[in-house]
């Protein structure tokens, strides 16, 4: 027998503008990020339609440049990075037993800077020459005022500054929350895996994001005629500074989703995360190494020490291997329930593995010279950034949706979405490896028919639309589940961590009473000792 969930009140505009509750802030950020995801996804579909056949069909070459620039920029600056922190804003206070986020007003200001930055960047579409078109990293001198004149490119630079500053402020608030708002007993080595991943993410945010803001301010000044990067080594200096942000942000877009997938795996397997302390320590090493590899994006410039950056890049496999070992160790001997969140988490680990392994390949300078600026790189970073974030994100959504909204998402639709996304992802990105190997360069709007690349490009276009249909299924699932009003209860999955000890959705200040914290899975401890009622899993109830 199911219970009826209380009807949710529609959020008021005042609540959107001035929210101080971390749950409202997190939800607002998630909605904004998802809206930008839809925009970035439409840009991708338009690009894929253009590339489906040789020759120019739909748009001019300049328009294609604008599309790939805005697709990358929207996805990196406005979707995945804010999304990674938005999950933390919502969940971290709940996981560590805090009533609020630290400095909620600053977090609110950060939210508005992020949204305002996004709108500033996208408003370039309304200008006469169009938005930024120098790529998402806008390498200099291509991004200079001579090569890319126009108001739209200036708006792109200002948008990046605002959005990065906003997300940086939110990250700083999250770091403060983790450091000073933990419940009694919640020591650093008792924090859930997801909170650990948010902690290391925030460390990268405070170290790397100010550098991007600096380089974008300098680029803006350069475009206004101050000649910052026009000296002898200016183009290389721009890249050094940009990639000092540009590579850590790859891990900002990965760690929280790894954390979400890890929680879904542990709860799905009914076991504690295997090798928790080693995992936490390896996360710190992983983060430190990922701050030390940025110039592998510049192997072919001749302006960096390739040996050092190749060494640090290859060393990343060690902490990554420890995390994968943790995942496998958790699964072995577990009482696995194959629900959607678990399957998405499993898909996350498998799909990201393709991105990770191809990363070892391009971490070697001689091989990178071969792959540079080809579709191999496009395939690699889409497996890393798309598969390494989206699958983890959806694992988290299916896992925590009942906590946030009080109702479960439909499992059938969830599994259909997963199938579509797995098929679509591999249909879109796997052929890119073959195209790159055959010599197709990235950032081209067309290619000669004689190359024979048409078939694989058609497959990729079909794959992109399959991914889009998966996203559509998710939207339908959310809308239909929210209308169902079937209450999920406080602990529908028999969870391990503190967020499952409060009602769904949680009250304004999260907890009426906190259970004691004795490990990183405090609720599981209590359940095992019989001090807390063990939730009947829906599957058990059906049986």
């Amino acid at each position: 027998m199911s219970t009826i969930a209380a009807r949710r009140r529609a959020p008021s505009w005042t609540g959107v503008i001035g929210a101080t509750d971390h749950k409202v802030l997190g939800r607002n950020m998630l909605i904004a990020a998802f809206a930008f995801f839809i925009a970035g996804g439409v840009f991708a579909l338009l690009m894929r339609l253009e590339l489906a056949q040789p020759g120019m069909q739909l748009m001019a070459r300049d328009s294609y440049d604008e599309l790939f620039t805005m697709h990358g920029s929207t996805m990196v600056y406005l979707f995945v990075t804010p999304l990674a922190l938005a999950l933390g804003v919502y969940l971290v206070p709940l996981q560590i037993g805090a009533a609020d986020i630290s400095a909620p007003r600053v977090a609110n200001i950060g939210f508005w800077l992020y949204v305002g930055g996004g709108l500033t960047m996208e408003s370039g579409w309304l200008t006469d020459i169009g938005p930024g078109r120098a790529g998402w990293f806008s390498a200099y001198p291509l991004s200079g005022s001579d090569a890319t004149p126009g108001f739209g490119m200036d708006l792109w630079v200002l948008g990046v500054i605002l959005a990065t500053a906003g997300v940086g402020l939110v990250g700083a608030c999250l770091l403060g929350t983790i450091m000073r708002r933990r419940a009694p007993g919640m020591t650093m080595l008792r924090m859930p895996v997801f909170t650990w991943t948010e902690l290391v993410t925030c460390l990268m945010v405070i170290g790397a994001f100010p550098v991007l803001i600096l380089v974008m301010v300098l680029l803006y000044l350069d475009r206004q005629g101050v000649h910052v990067f026009q000296g002898f080594n200016g183009a290389i200096d721009y890249q050094q500074l940009f990639w000092f942000y540009g590579h850590p942000v790859v891990y900002v877009m990965f760690f929280p989703f790894f954390g979400a997938a890890a929680e879904a795996i542990a709860v799905g397997a009914g076991r504690r995360w295997f090798g928790y302390e080693a995992s936490a320590l390896s996360l710190l090493a992983f983060t430190a190494l990922s701050m030390s590899v940025w110039a592998h994006h510049m192997f072919t410039t001749g302006g960096v020490h390739n040996a050092y950056f190749s060494l640090t890049s290859t060393a990343l496999v060690v902490p990554a291997g420890i995390e994968y070992l943790g995942m496998l160790g958790t699964l072995v001997g577990g009482a696995i329930v194959f629900r959607t969140s678990f399957l998405f988490a499993l898909a996350f680990f498998i799909q990201f593995l393709i991105g990770g392994l191809s990363g070892i390949f391009v971490a070697s300078p001689p091989l990178d010279y071969h792959a540079q600026d080809s579709y191999i790189v496009v395939a690699h970073f889409h497996y890393t950034l798309f598969a390494g974030s989206i699958f983890g994100f959806f694992a988290g959504v299916y896992h925590w949706f009942p906590k946030a909204f009080g109702v479960r998402l439909r499992e059938g639709l969830g599994k259909l979405q997963l199938a579509l996304m797995v098929v679509g992802t591999n249909l879109t990105f796997l052929p890119m490896f073959f195209l790159g190997q055959e010599g197709m360069p990235r950032r081209v709007a067309t290619y000669p028919a004689s190359t024979g690349w048409g078939t694989l490009n058609v497959l990729e276009t079909v794959g992109a639309f399959v991914i889009a249909s998966g996203v559509l299924v998710f939207v339908v699932n959310v809308l239909s589940s929210l209308r169902s009003h079937v209450a999920a209860g406080p602990d529908p999955w028999d969870g391990h961590t503190l967020e499952w000890a409060t009602s769904s959705p949680p009250p304004r200040h999260n907890f009426e009473l906190l259970p004691p914290v004795r490990s990183y899975a405090p609720l599981l401890d209590l359940k095992q000792s019989g001090e807390w009622p063990r939730a009947r899993r829906p599957e058990e109830a059906l049986a």
Binding site: R105, L158, L241, L284, A288, M291
Partner: protein, 146 residues
């Protein structure tokens, strides 16, 4: 609480080691400078957290006496929202037109004034809640049978 800074110090030491290795390897100043910037920021944050001796009012008070922990933080802060929107308006105005900078500047003043009023009110509320809590705790203590 001070021990919470240890992971940050470990992480800072790790990137400091990597930065030093890069420096010895002979990289250029921009590269090494950016790297040490991250090291210094991390260590300053770690030391800041270690030195602050912040209490943990939320969890502790909630577990022991949830009835005494009425919160002074308002659910809404227009000051914060207006300040954020004002900054965006000013930055956009830097390229679009000076009038937006002026409008944004006005909004920013309004936002700061509102924030100051909110913070003052929150501080007064917070003090009153603590006093009320203490008073109630005193009464409760007398009610406890010997």
């Amino acid at each position: 609480m001070r021990r919470a800074a240890i992971p940050l110090l470990i992480y800072g030491a790790f990137i400091a080691g990597n930065a030093t290795m890069l420096w010895i390897w002979g990289e250029d100043a921009v590269n090494v400078g950016a790297f040490y910037f991250a090291v210094i920021v991390t260590w300053l944050v770690a030391l800041g957290f270690a030195a602050a001796h912040w209490k943990q009012p939320d969890g502790e008070a909630l577990r022991e006496r949830p009835d005494l922990t009425r919160r002074a933080l308002p659910d809404l802060s227009f000051g914060a929202g207006i300040t954020g929107i004002a900054i965006v308006t000013m930055v956009y105005g830097a390229r679009f037109g000076l009038f937006l900078v002026w409008i944004g500047g006005g909004l920013l003043l309004l936002g700061f004034a509102r924030l100051a009023a909110e913070l003052g009110s929150q501080r007064r509320d917070s003090r009153r809640h603590v006093e009320e809590g203490r008073a109630r705790a005193g009464i409760d203590a007398e009610d406890v049978p010997p």
